[in-house]
């Protein structure tokens, strides 16, 4: 089924999108690196446990760590070679995290064949889910929640809808866009696997209206499909945010502080769906992903990259910096994280590397709030950032909590529109942390 433009949420912003830098560039395969640094923590939840030792020879696709609890995922070698070290290493999410360092032997020898298994459709839901868990898949849109956990909702939360998120509302990024153009069948097959695992009849593929070619491609595949609806979304940041997306597809509002399963929905990124298809149909673990490398680099590209490749290698493959760099961002420019070094690895959740030149990174001089209330107008969660930040600045965590600060998803729309250049987003984040601290203290 094809649906007209979906309902949208109140608020949101229209940042300049810069997607034309890479939107028309087909995915290129980056040659395997000589060294891969694979962090044991690439997901939300408990850090995985290494199952290899320094000196071991590992093969491409071989598990190198195992889940350390129910909310945890394994990781795999992304090339063949020798484990040189298991040591702490800078991580794109900001911490320093233990990682398995593999030096390539140049053979790129596979652990098993990873051939297409034509009988995968006859697998039971349980078997499919096990293959997904064994492949070490996390959400690939950036939040990196373990995928198999999302596919095991508690019995009292029946799921009736699966939504594939192809909104890609972050400026600059085009990796999901290219995947939808180049692997639409795999993505839809992945969606069917998710629907089967969850026992769900109704699926959506939601794409922002600024990707007409991807919409056309998907509508060709879905025009006679009774179960899956293609949804064209209004172009607006953050239309791809989970709660806003669920509202667009189903007009259901996820209650404050709850997860999508509360309203019977599971949302997965289109890239995750592709990885799920590869895992179930070919038993292929998640050892590579598409990354948009863009901004102030000489040749912006969409690259298929082995997990563990350093940012430096991607940037050099794209011709290096085109101007003096100001910020190197892991992810998109709205929610991504500015890096202090190029020696951080691509992880399962790395959707892009955005380089902003020094000129583009304008010096920001925060002023007093003049009460223009634009942050109130744009907040997709309907909060009043101006009021909440005032509470946070005065240490009134109680009032900040009462004003709903914990609903903030840190999309950054408030800081984007702030004419006084205030660090609204950062104050909100700080306030959330302090409210949690306050709650912990109250429990004691």
């Amino acid at each position: 089924m094809i649906s007209a433009i979906a309902k949208t949420f109140k608020g949101g912003i229209h940042p300049p999108d810069h997607k034309s830098l890479t939107a028309a560039k087909a995915i290129e395969v980056l040659p395997p690196p000589t060294r891969a640094v694979i962090p044991l923590q690439q997901h939300i939840g408990r850090m995985s446990e290494a199952i290899v030792q320094v000196g071991d020879r590992v093969l491409r696709g071989q598990p190198i760590s195992k889940p350390a609890g129910p909310v945890s995922v394994s990781s795999h070698a992304s090339l063949s070679g020798e484990v040189k070290a298991i040591e702490s290493h800078p991580h794109p999410l900001g911490q320093v995290v233990p990682a398995v360092v593999i030096e390539s032997d140049g053979l790129d020898e596979a652990y098993v064949s990873f051939d297409y298994d034509p009988k995968y459709l006859t697998l039971s839901a349980e078997e499919m889910k096990n293959r997904i868990a064994d492949a070490g898949i996390t959400g690939m849109g950036g939040a990196t929640f373990p995928t198999h956990v999302k596919l095991m909702p508690p019995a009292d939360k029946p799921i009736d809808t699966v939504i594939l998120n192809g909104a890609e509302c972050e400026p600059y990024l085009t990796s999901d866009h290219r995947l939808m153009l180049e692997y639409p069948e795999d993505i839809i097959k992945g969606l069917r696997i998710i629907m089967k695992v969850l026992g769900v009849q109704k699926g959506f593929v939601a794409i922002e209206n600024n990707k007409p070619d991807a919409i056309a491609k998907m509508s060709e595949l879905l025009k006679n499909d009774p179960d899956i609806t293609l949804l064209a979304l209004k172009v607006k940041y953050p239309q791809g945010a989970e709660k806003q997306l669920i509202y667009a597809a189903t007009q259901r509002s996820v209650p404050s502080g709850k997860l999508p399963m509360e309203v019977g929905c599971v949302v997965q990124n289109v890239g995750t769906a592709k990885a799920i298809y590869d895992a179930v149909a070919c038993q292929k673990p998640l050892i590579e992903r598409v990354v948009t490398v863009t901004g102030a680099v000489r040749n912006p590209k969409n690259l298929l990259v082995r997990i563990g490749t350093s940012f430096r290698e991607l940037i050099e493959y794209c011709g290096g910096f085109s101007e003096e760099p100001g910020k190197v961002i892991s992810g998109g420019p709205m929610m991504g994280i500015a890096q202090f070094t190029l020696d951080v690895p691509i992880i399962k959740g790395s959707s892009g590397i955005v380089v902003l030149s020094r000129k583009e990174v304008a010096e920001n001089k925060p002023q007093e709030c003049i009460g223009c209330a634009r942050c109130v107008d744009v907040c997709p969660m309907n909060l009043m950032p101006t009021l909440i930040v005032n509470y946070v600045e005065n240490g009134r965590w109680d009032l900040a909590k009462e004003a709903g600060i914990m609903n903030c998803m840190e999309c950054g729309s408030c800081a984007f529109v702030c004419a006084a250049g205030r660090n609204v987003m950062h104050q909100m984040r700080f306030g959330k942390f302090m409210v949690q601290e306050m709650e912990k203290a109250e429990k004691k």
């Binding site: 101007e323 003096e324 709205m334 500015a338 202090f340 003049i370 009460g371 209330a373 101006t386 984007f416």
Partner: protein, 343 residues
């Protein structure tokens, strides 16, 4: 030569997301308001002569100088040219009669900037509109100068009514309504009220060829400026609509001799309502941020304006009503928060 080499470990900038920001700034907003006030200033010069420009110029220069001097004393960054002091100067001048002596805008603006703004910490921290506070100070200190210096506009009369001189339209009609209520000068008073309600009188009020404060008389030119601010999305319709709507409805219900016989057009166009509703009640710093708070704020302004106009001691109540509602703004924001998505 810019450092573009990945090997030399460039000094990367690290800061919290988001990494993109609007190109808008406080200065752009303030100077847009200045631009939006220019049509009305041009009108004032046309109707009241160069005296209007003179008074406005004195107020603007005083505002900028006062701000710079105070910031120098406070040892903070001098931002006197960020446009906000200029806006305060223009608005103060717009709120005094055209033929006041030169020191009136000086005293008013010094009070507005020093007491109205910097005592509280400067731009963004003032609870009340500085220009209106300056005007209130002048009204309390020199009431005669502030209520008698009306000039006849080019191509019109001060009161808009041929038989009344030396009074603004609101003053003339208020006096006539009082006489009607008391039963004195009935015929003459009724004639004044009726002539204020003719199309010709509305037209004078609309274009601004009546007596009044420097910048308040021409609804047309003020609306041109307001349209620009709407286009730039620096103001929204909530406060102007609820403010003017409340004045119109209550003016219609209670403004006549009997209920539902009031002249709502007169109440919209006469006095400082258009200036107040579009340029002063919408002052970002002192009006609520929540949508519902803005509706209530506008309604409160309208209610107080009509109360002052119809039963208060002054003929006009726009500036006092805004000042009073300014004080309620923090409460409104706290208790009219929008419903959180999913709550």
């Amino acid at each position: 030569m810019a450092d573009t080499n990945t090997d030399t470990a460039p000094q990367l900038i690290v800061s919290a997301s988001p990494h993109l920001r609007t190109t808008d700034s406080v200065e752009k907003i303030m100077y847009s308001v200045v631009v939006a006030l220019l049509p009305a200033l041009a009108g004032a010069v046309y109707y009241f002569g160069l005296q209007a420009l003179w008074i406005t110029g004195i107020a603007v220069i005083t505002a900028v100088a006062t701000e710079a001097a105070i910031q120098k004393c406070r040892k903070v960054q001098i931002t006197a040219l960020d446009g906000s002091a200029i806006v305060t100067g223009i608005l103060l001048a717009f709120n005094v009669p055209p033929s006041v002596p030169w020191w009136i805008p000086v005293v008013g603006t010094v009070f507005a900037i020093a007491i109205g703004k910097h005592v509280f910490g400067g731009l963004g921290l003032n609870p009340m509109n500085p220009a209106l506070l300056g005007r209130a100070f002048l009204m309390a200190s020199w009431p005669v100068l502030m209520t008698t210096g009306w000039s006849a506009p080019t191509g019109g009369t001060t009161s808009g009514v041929a038989t009344v001189t030396g009074a603004t339209p609101l003053m003339a009609v208020k006096a006539a309504m009082r006489d009607l209520a008391l039963g004195v000068n009935v015929e003459q008073s009724r004639a004044i009220v009726e002539s204020a309600g003719t199309a010709k009188a509305y037209f004078s009020l609309f274009v601004g060829s009546v007596g009044g404060c420097i910048g308040e008389t021409s609804a047309l030119l003020l609306l041109v400026g307001a349209a620009y601010l709407f286009y730039k999305k620096y103001i929204n319709y909530r406060i102007p609509l609820s403010f003017i709507g409340t004045v119109a409805i209550l003016g219609w219900i209670f403004g006549g001799e009997g209920l539902f016989t009031g002249d709502f057009m007169f109440h919209i166009l006469a006095g400082g309502l258009i200036l107040g509703a579009f340029f002063m009640a919408t002052d970002m710093v002192t009006c609520p941020s929540s949508p519902l708070g803005q509706w209530i704020f506008g309604f409160g302004c309208g209610l107080l304006t009509i109360v002052i106009r119809l039963v208060g001691g002054y003929p006009e109540g726009v500036s006092y009503s805004i000042l009073l509602m300014n004080l309620v703004t923090p409460l409104l924001d706290r208790y009219t928060k929008p419903k959180v998505f999913g709550a």
